[in-house]
């Protein structure tokens, strides 16, 4: 199955017939089976699917964190597939931002230092106006001097968001960014991601298994058993839940 083809010129990230096989012989697992998909610029896309369906694997392959077994991945006009370590490092540094489910921050650095870390690694200076905007949007101005251990989970994730945004990457990948948060803190983070797409034209690809979270996105791509099986534009929590239920039934038979 193939997702609806978007406007090619504006794709921020693109996967073409991507296969991913882990291990070999008895222990061989095929996590992705021929995924072709595009993520448009300035849009908030969610990747949904049951646990083990290959969401994280797809995201890792898109972001150049993992190599694909077959197929190609592009970020902007850069072909990720086949890049060496130096190329991948440059890609991560200049074009991609990450928000993980947990362990987003270096425990020894303050919130501010964590936020500025990608820029200082790249040896760049932050744009002061943009930095102020980001800090104000995440609402962390009074917490900048704190260490991660002194922040709540929601605050930590907001620091991670700010870190991803401050470098203005081509695309931000987020893997279950609200997976460890309660619903209120989760809503704050999701609102924040939603706004950064609306107001600043940021491209975000978010992996989640939570229909409520997916409803914040402009578009949802459904993954089951390593393949894209469906997609929704302008989703609501209810339409997402419905689609999930429909997908679950055959999947269970398959198992």
């Amino acid at each position: 199955m193939t997702a609806t083809v978007g406007r090619q010129a504006q794709a921020a990230a693109r996967a073409s017939d991507v296969w991913k096989v882990y291990g070999s012989g008895e222990a061989q697992v095929t996590a992705l089976r021929g995924v072709t998909c595009e993520f448009e610029r300035g849009r908030f896309t969610a990747i949904m699917g049951p646990s083990g369906s290959g969401k994280s694997t797809l995201m890792h392959c898109l972001a150049g964190l993992d190599t694909v077994t077959r197929g190609t991945v592009m970020i902007g006009d850069t072909t990720v597939t086949g890049l060496g370590d130096a190329g991948l490092t440059r890609l991560r540094r200049d074009k991609v931002g990450f928000i993980f489910q947990q362990f987003n921050l270096l425990p020894t650095l303050t919130a501010q230092e964590n936020i500025l870390l990608p820029l200082s690694i790249a040896g760049r200076k932050p744009d002061p106006a943009w930095y102020d905007t980001v800090i104000d949007t995440v609402g962390l101005r009074d917490r900048l001097g704190h260490r991660p251990a002194q922040l709540s989970g929601g605050q930590q994730q907001r620091v991670a968001c700010a870190r991803a945004l401050v470098a203005r990457p081509e695309v931000i990948f987020a893997d279950e960014p609200t997976g460890n948060l309660d619903s209120r803190a989760g809503a704050e983070v999701l609102n924040f991601l939603h706004n950064s797409v609306r107001e600043h034209g940021q491209t975000i690809v978010m992996v989640t298994h939570d229909p409520t979270a997916a409803a914040y996105a402009d578009r949802v791509v459904f993954l089951a058993d390593g393949q894209i099986v469906s997609e929704l534009i302008e989703p609501t929590a209810d339409t997402v839940l419905d689609t999930m239920k429909k997908l679950d039934a055959p999947a269970e038979v398959g198992n």
């Binding site: 993992d66 370590d85 540094r93 200049d94 993980f100 650095l109 870390l117 690694i121």
Partner: protein, 849 residues
């Protein structure tokens, strides 16, 4: 990036400090050695400059046999009185003194024992009166032949006072004198540089110290006003001719100081050797610490990689941490080294009888050495973990799994290759194929062997640790501890390898020295056919000796069948230095030492004949009838004809001269006496009679054969003990390593420990678990050390087969002690980490991320 590095460094300061401690100790030895040498060197300069302050030009005869520092005191040829007169007539000379001044005047203290000296000479001199430098403190100068004066420090050490009758040993046996005065030096000093001095009247000094009347050791000259010492030196040199060395006072001081400094440089090398051991062990510790830290920071480093850090930046950040640790360790080590250098200099000064120390000096070499060594070692050790850190994939930031255990194939192959290189180097070095580079080749071989075995250790650790751990597997905590120690073979291996180095070195040295002792004893037991032996412990660098008359008197005791006195000297034979001996009774060669003739007749020796060993005959291409020219320490060179050749053994001398020649030896008295009894005579009957004969030779005593052999071989005990003490330091450093590894492991397993505590593991059980892990690691290290050390020791012993070390003696008792010690070390090392583990807050640990 820099800030992130420094912050992470600060967060780990304690563990880095622990591992840095080994570097601190290594740097301490390096800089301490330099500080010590510099301080003592300048002190020597000052002492000799002072001692020669009223000397403008010195005339001495060239020594007949030039010796190196290690071969003993050089015996200068005497200067005849006629030369003194010749110097006196040189224009520009203001004052000329014939000086008698030779080592070997040993005063017998009020307790009947010879006053000993470690290092500074015990000079016997002629009394030349007071000077600007030297003043009598009490009494007067010696006027009669049985009067002496001594320096104040010696009088104090011997507890003698003016008016006492005191005994003095010189070239001649003990003689009694009346102490008529005590002198000191300007600045209220009792000695110069700890030198003991006994001053006689000139004729007595000539007879007792130089063995001849009307000769002097050297001639001291003062220049008249308006003549420079250099100008006078050239004038005097022309007057006395080429047989004499003429130097200015400054040159004399510089030369004397330089020869002492040469001795110091040996000491310096020993200290640097231990620095090398400490640093080798330190390298293992640092490597381990950084590896663990990198492993613990896997997710952090992966996160950095995910947000754009390049591999090079990661390497940079780890190396930067290493540089910071190295810098701090160097600074601390340098400070400690200055302290240690000062302390050793102080102790040395005390031991040397009150050497006045020049101010403490920190030469640039100490500072440069400290920083170079500290930085290089730390950075080199951290390089491997840094490269590993750069290889962490960014995806590791998202995975909860620890990086899987990498296969050990590469390390094992590398270890096998390095071990093989080490073995090859050892084979080359020990087999004598390395020519001039033998020592370097052997040391390189040992180093490679250690590194190679360390690399092989992870592979060995699996079965051995499992086996060792089985001993403790009877309890749950024991079982967990065992599993933990087998969990990370690399970490366990490097920690154990650090302990291995120290224990292997101690074991190796012990194997070599014990084998040497065993071989010499066995040979002596088999060959020496003398029931009683006269020998002594020396009171300084000169061997103890006794009156030759004792030999004749002993031979007259009923039941004594044969008595032989052994003399020895370093001589020039056909222009090459050789140790020569003389036996008072040549027959002893066959009858006491079991020598067999391979050519000629070895049972008798004419005054112009000599005997050589088969080895010497071979190397010098001598046969019966060849003539050789022998220059002894004293007298003129003489030709001897080889009249017999005896089979070489460990106990035979290269050359044996007729007894008459002993008069020209540096020590013209027997050093050892061998007494053979007739069958049926009881040792206990004869021993006391010989003891009585030796009443005037307090430095020597008579012992039965077994006691003599033991006494001879026990000379090896002192160096052995010293090496053991210093290498114990390497073991202490390794213990720090075990503490460090455990502490880091406990930290790493905080969560797991919390879980164990949550499901009911008691505090005491937690502590036992950690202790078992420590004990398993340290016994493993000790076991490796014992095996590797025995291997190295056995290799050296085999290589020394031709030198007479034929028996391989393994110190089983000592090896057992090491293993027990290792168990104790493990328990001790576990204390702090175990307490830490037991204190872990259960809730906090589970929540810990």
């Amino acid at each position: 990036m820099l800030r992130a590095t420094l912050k992470s460094l600060l967060a780990r300061k304690l563990r880095l400090l622990l591992s840095g401690l080994a570097v601190v100790l290594g740097v301490m030895f390096v800089s301490g050695a330099f500080v010590l040498t510099d301080t003592l060197g300048r002190s020597f300069d000052a002492v000799f400059a002072d001692a020669t302050s009223d000397l403008d030009v010195n005339v001495a005869a060239k020594p007949k046999v030039a010796l190196s520092e290690a071969e003993g005191e050089q015996v200068a040829a005497p200067v005849p009185a006629s030369v003194v007169e010749r110097v006196r007539s040189v224009p520009g000379v203001a004052e000329v003194k014939g000086v008698v001044n030779a080592d070997g005047a040993r005063l017998i203290g009020s307790n009947g024992k010879v006053v000993t000296s470690f290092g500074p000479p015990q000079l016997g001199e002629n009394w030349l009166g007071e000077s600007d430098l030297l003043k009598l403190r009490e009494g007067r100068g010696p006027q009669a032949d049985d009067e002496i004066v001594v320096n104040a420090a010696l009088a104090e050490a011997a507890k003698v006072k003016v008016g006492d009758r005191v005994g003095v040993l010189t070239l001649a046996p003990k003689k009694e004198f009346t102490l008529v005065g005590v002198f000191g030096y300007s600045g209220d000093r009792g000695s110069i540089g700890g030198v003991n001095e006994v001053a006689f009247t000139t004729p007595v000094a000539q007879q007792l110290m130089l063995g001849k009347p009307d000769v002097f050791s050297n001639v001291a000259v003062r220049a008249a006003d308006g003549t420079t010492p250099e100008a006078l030196r050239d004038q005097v040199a022309r007057a006395v001719g080429a047989d004499y060395e003429v130097k200015t006072g400054e040159q004399v001081a510089a030369d004397a100081s330089a020869s002492l400094k040469e001795g110091l440089s040996f000491f310096n090398k020993i200290l640097l050797g231990f620095a090398a051991v400490a640093l080798l062990v330190g390298t293992f510790l640092i490597l381990n610490t950084f590896s663990i830290i990198v492993a613990q920071r896997t997710r952090e480093l992966a996160l950095m990689r995910a947000i754009g850090a390049s591999g090079r930046q990661i390497i940079g950040s780890v190396v930067l941490e290493a540089v910071a640790v190295g810098l701090i360790a160097s600074v601390l080590g340098l400070a400690a080294g200055i302290g240690v250098g000062a302390l050793l200099a102080y102790l040395f000064g005390k031991l040397a009888g009150g050497l006045a120390l020049a101010g403490l000096g920190v030469p640039p070499a100490a500072v440069i050495g400290a920083f170079a060594v500290g930085l290089v070692i730390t950075v080199v050790a951290a390089l491997l973990p840094a490269i590993r850190a750069a290889r962490i994939p960014p995806i590791a930031a998202m995975q909860d799994v620890a990086t899987p255990d990498r296969p050990l194939t590469k390390v094992t192959v590398g270890g096998a290759v390095v071990t093989a290189i080490g073995a090859a180097l050892l084979f080359l070095g020990l087999g004598g194929h390395a020519g001039d580079n033998t020592l370097a080749t052997i040391l390189g071989g040992v180093l490679f062997a250690f590194i190679g075995v360390a690399l092989l250790t992870p592979l060995i650790s699996r079965p051995v640790v499992a086996l060792l751990g089985a001993i403790f597997a009877w309890s749950v905590p024991g079982k967990l501890g065992r599993l933990n120690s087998g969990r990370n073979p690399r970490r366990t291996a490097i920690t154990a390898a650090a302990l291995m180095v120290g224990i292997a070195l101690v074991t190796g040295v012990t194997v070599i020295l014990d084998s040497a002792k065993g071989s010499i004893s066995a040979l002596a037991e088999d060959t020496i056919k003398a029931e009683l032996v006269i020998s002594g412990a020396s009171s300084g660098p000169r061997p103890a000796s006794f009156d030759p008359a004792v030999l004749d008197k002993a031979a007259a005791i009923p039941g004594v069948q044969l008595v032989d006195g052994e003399y020895g000297d370093m001589a020039m034979v056909d222009g090459r230095r050789t140790w020569v001996a003389a036996s008072s009774d040549v027959a002893a060669l066959e009858r006491i030492f079991g020598a067999t003739a391979t050519a000629g007749d070895i049972s008798r020796l004419g005054p112009d004949q000599l005997l050589v060993s088969s080895d010497t005959a071979k190397s010098r291409k001598l046969s019966v009838g060849s003539t050789v020219r022998v220059q002894l320490s004293r007298g003129e060179a003489r030709s001897y004809t080889v009249s017999g050749i005896y089979e070489s053994s460990q106990l035979t001398n290269p050359m044996t001269l007729p007894p008459q020649a002993a008069a020209d030896f540096a020590i013209p008295q027997p050093i050892q006496g061998f007494v053979q009894l007739s069958p049926g005579t009881r040792v206990a009957d004869v021993q006391p009679q010989i003891e009585r004969l030796l009443a005037d030779s307090p430095e020597v005593s008579v012992a039965d054969r077994a006691a003599f052999i033991k006494q001879q071989t026990s000379q090896l005990d002192t160096p052995l003990r010293m090496i053991q003490i210093l290498l114990a330091l390497a073991i202490v450093i390794a213990v720090l390593g075990i503490i460090n590894t455990l502490a880091l492991s406990v930290l790493e397993r905080t969560r797991e420990l919390g879980l164990l505590r949550a499901i009911g593991l008691r505090r005491a059980q937690t502590m036992r678990m950690i202790t078992v892990e420590a004990v398993v690691i340290s016994i493993f290290g000790a076991l490796l050390g014992v095996v590797v050390g025995t291997g190295l020791g056995a290799a050296v012993v085999r290589a020394l087969k031709d030198e007479g070390i034929t028996d391989l003696v393994l110190p089983w008792g000592q090896m057992g002690t090491f293993l027990v010690l290792a168990a104790i070390v493990g328990v001790v090392a576990a204390v702090l980490p175990a307490i830490r583990a037991a204190r872990i807050n259960v809730l906090g640990a589970i929540a810990h991320d």
